[in-house]
C-alpha cells in the first residue's frame, strides 16, 4: 500500500463532520421535541440508543466552545450540561441517510446491542462507571460509518472482498485502505476531543493488547462486540464473528457459570432493545412512504 494513498484516506476521513442517522430515530426525536411535555431526560434516553447522535452529543459537549474538552464521557452528564434547547438544535442539525440500506440498520442494532452487553458486563465486573463503558460500546464502530460515507468506492470494494474471499471485514479494510475501522473510529473520537476513556476502547476494540490506560474497558468492548455478533444480533457488515483475544479473556476473568448468568441477563435486556428497534423501523417506513 502506497503511503501517499493511505494518507489521502486519512485526510478524507479526518475531515468528516456530519455522519448520517437513521430517519426513524430523527423523526421520533423531532416529534418529541415538538411536544411541550417532553423532558430532557426522555430525549436523552432516545439519543443514548443511537450511535451517531450519541457521538455528536459527546463531540459537542467536549468541544472548546462548550468548555469541557476531553472531560465528559457520560451521556447523562452531556445531556444535563447541554440542555434541552441545544439538544433540540442538535436534532435539527442531524443529517439523515439519503439512501438507507439494510446494513445501516444492522450496524445500528449491532452498536446498540454491544452497548447493552458492555453495560451488563461492566456492572458485573464492578467497573466504577459502567455507563462510560456502555457509551464506548455504543460508538465503537463509528469508523465504519465514516468509511462508508467518505470513501464509498473503497467501501464497496471492501464489501466485495468480504463476500468473494470470505474474509473478515477487518482484513478486507486493511487490504483496501491500509487501515481499519477501529483505528479510524479512534482518530475521529480523538479529533472530537472525546476523553481517553472513550478513545482507547474504540481504537483497540479489535486488539485490546494495544490499550495503554483503559485495558479493562477495552477488553469489555472487545468481548461485547464478539458476544453480540455471536448472538446473531445485527451483523455489523461482517460475515465472521471476530476472534477473541486471549489476554482480554484472562483480564475479564469470567467463569463459565458467571457467563451463563450474564448471557441470560443480556438476552432479557435485548428484548427491550428489539422492541425499540421495531418501533424505529416502523417509523422509518412511515417516513419514507409519507
Amino acid at each position: 500500500m502506497l503511503d501517499e494513498k493511505k494518507d489521502g484516506f486519512r485526510k478524507a476521513l479526518r475531515e468528516i463532520n456530519n455522519l448520517p442517522t437513521l430517519p426513524g430515530i430523527v423523526s421520533k426525536l423531532t416529534k418529541m421535541a415538538e411536544d411541550p411535555d417532553t423532558t430532557t431526560e426522555q430525549m436523552g434516553k432516545v439519543i443514548s440508543k443511537d450511535h451517531i447522535l450519541a457521538a455528536k452529543l459527546l463531540k459537542l459537549v467536549n468541544s472548546a466552545f462548550y468548555g469541557f474538552p476531553q472531560r465528559i464521557s457520560s451521556l447523562d452528564s452531556a445531556i444535563i450540561l447541554l440542555g434541552f434547547n441545544v439538544i433540540k438544535s442538535l436534532i435539527i442539525s442531524a443529517s439523515i441517510f439519503e439512501f438507507m440500506e439494510e446494513q445501516d440498520v444492522e450496524l445500528w442494532e449491532h452498536s446498540l446491542g454491544c452497548a447493552v452487553v458492555c453495560s451488563v458486563l461492566a456492572k458485573r465486573l464492578g467497573v466504577s462507571d459502567p455507563e462510560e463503558v456502555s457509551t464506548a460500546g455504543l460508538i465503537h464502530d463509528i469508523g465504519k460509518v465514516a468509511i462508508k460515507m467518505e470513501l464509498p468506492k473503497e467501501n464497496e470494494m471492501i464489501g466485495q472482498l468480504v463476500t468473494e474471499r470470505q474474509i473478515s471485514r477487518y482484513e478486507a479494510e486493511q487490504e483496501v485502505l491500509g487501515l481499519q475501522h477501529a483505528e479510524v473510529g479512534g482518530w475521529l473520537a480523538k479529533s472530537w476531543n472525546l476523553p481517553g476513556k472513550l478513545v482507547e476502547p474504540i481504537s483497540c476494540h479489535h486488539d485490546p493488547r494495544l490499550a495503554k490506560n483503559e485495558q479493562l474497558a477495552s477488553a469489555i468492548v472487545h468481548f461485547s462486540d464478539i458476544v453480540i455478533r455471536g448472538l446473531g444480533y445485527g451483523h455489523a457488515d461482517d460475515i465472521w464473528v471476530p476472534p477473541l483475544s486471549q489476554r482480554a479473556w484472562r483480564l475479564l476473568d469470567i467463569s463459565p457459570e458467571d457467563l451463563d448468568q450474564v448471557l441470560d441477563e443480556i438476552e432479557e435486556k435485548l428484548w427491550d432493545v428489539k422492541g425499540f428497534s421495531l418501533e424505529i423501523q416502523a417509523n422509518t417506513d412511515g417516513a419514507v412512504t409519507s
Binding site: D76, F84, V86, I92, S119
Partner: protein, 321 residues
C-alpha cells in the same frame, strides 16, 4: 477576526460585498441548508449571523430561534435580509438585532456589521467566563419582579468548598466547575420555568436566578440532583474514594473539606414586602449563612422570616439501570 455565517440563497451577498468584507478581515461562511447552518451555530458559533427572510419556507424563523435559544450564544448579533415588500414584520417573533434592505451596497453592509459589533461591546454586562448577565442586569431583574407585585423566588446559589477546591485542582479546573454550575442553572430554569425567569452571574462561584414562586422547589431540586450526577466528573478518583480532601483553611491550617456541593438561599418577594433590591440581598446573605452550615447539597426558603431547610439526599453511586 470576526466570522460571519451567511444563511440563504447563494447570491445573498454579492461578489462586491464579499470582496469588501474579506478585505476587512471578515471570514464568511455560507450555508443554504437549515441543518448545516444549525450545525455551524452549535459546533463552531460565528460572531455574527446574516439570514435571508423567507429562505426555504420558515427556515429563517427556525434558525433565528435556534440561535436565540442556545442562551450562551444569545450575544451573537443577527441581521435579517429583507425586501421592503416583506415589511412590517412582527419583531416579537423575529428576535433579530437589525435589518438589511435589498439591495444594499458593500459600504452599507460593512457599516451595519461594524455598528452591530460595537453595540454588542457597549451593551455587554456579561460575565466573561459564563457569558451570563452580570450585576447591572441582576439588579434590574430583581427590581422588575419587586415592581411587578407577583410572587417570585430570588435564589442565590453558591458552591460550597470552592476555594479549597480551586487551590487543590487549579484555576482552570475551577473555571470548568463554575461553567458547569452556570449551565446546570440555565438549562434547568429554561426547561422547567422559562416564563418570567432570569439567570445571572454575580461573580466567582456566586449566581442568582429568579423564578416564579410556585416553581422554586422544582427548580432547586432539579439543579441539586443534576449537580450530583455531574459533579464527580470534576473530582479525582482518589478524592472520590475518600469522600473528602485535605486543604488549607483561611489561616493556612490543614483542614479536611467535603467534596463540592451546592447551597441555594431563596428569598420570596411577595411574602416579605420588600421595597428595594438591597433588602432582598441583605435577607439572602443572612439566609445563606444558615444554609451553608449544613453539609451536602441544600436549599432553604425564607418565608416571612422563618427558615425552611431542605436537604437533597446525595446520589454518589450512579445507577442507570
Amino acid at each position: 477576526m470576526a466570522r460571519i455565517l451567511v444563511v440563504g440563497n447563494g447570491d445573498l451577498i454579492s461578489a462586491d460585498c464579499r470582496v469588501v468584507l474579506e478585505a476587512k478581515g471578515y471570514q464568511l461562511i455560507f450555508c443554504s441548508e437549515l441543518s448545516a447552518a444549525v450545525g455551524v451555530i452549535l459546533e463552531d458559533p460565528p460572531d455574527l449571523l446574516i439570514v435571508e427572510r423567507g429562505f426555504k419556507g420558515d427556515s429563517d424563523l427556525r434558525l433565528v430561534k435556534v440561535a436565540g435559544s442556545c442562551l450562551q450564544k444569545a450575544f451573537m448579533p443577527i441581521l435579517l435580509v429583507v425586501h421592503d415588500s416583506m415589511l412590517p414584520l412582527d419583531w416579537s417573533l423575529f428576535p433579530v438585532d437589525d435589518i438589511l434592505r435589498i439591495p444594499f451596497s458593500p459600504e452599507v453592509l460593512l457599516t451595519r456589521l461594524q455598528l452591530a459589533e460595537s453595540r454588542m461591546v457597549r451593551l455587554f454586562d456579561n460575565n466573561p467566563l459564563s457569558k451570563l448577565p452580570g450585576n447591572t442586569s441582576i439588579i434590574k431583574a430583581i427590581t422588575r419582579v419587586l415592581d411587578s407585585g407577583d410572587r417570585y423566588g430570588v435564589c442565590y446559589v453558591d458552591i460550597d468548598n470552592f476555594k479549597p477546591y480551586n487551590d487543590r485542582y487549579g484555576f482552570s479546573q475551577g473555571d470548568e466547575v463554575i461553567l458547569m454550575v452556570a449551565r446546570l442553572i440555565v438549562n434547568t430554569v429554561e426547561e422547567i420555568a422559562r416564563d418570567g425567569s432570569f439567570v445571572g452571574h454575580v461573580g466567582g462561584d456566586d449566581f442568582v436566578f429568579v423564578v416564579k414562586r410556585d416553581m422554586v422547589d422544582q427548580v432547586c431540586r432539579k439543579i441539586l440532583s443534576n449537580f450530583s450526577v455531574v459533579r464527580n466528573i470534576f473530582i479525582s478518583p482518589e478524592d472520590l474514594k475518600v469522600g473528602a480532601f485535605i486543604g488549607q483553611d483561611r489561616l493556612g491550617r490543614d483542614t479536611k473539606f467535603e467534596l463540592l456541593s451546592i447551597s441555594i438561599a431563596v428569598v420570596c418577594t411577595e411574602d416579605n414586602n420588600f421595597k428595594h433590591y438591597g433588602e432582598v440581598s441583605a435577607s439572602a446573605s443572612q439566609l445563606k449563612s444558615f444554609v451553608k452550615k449544613k453539609s451536602g447539597n441544600n436549599y432553604m426558603i425564607d418565608r416571612r422570616g422563618s427558615y425552611h431547610p431542605v436537604s437533597i439526599p446525595r446520589s454518589d453511586n450512579k445507577d442507570h439501570s
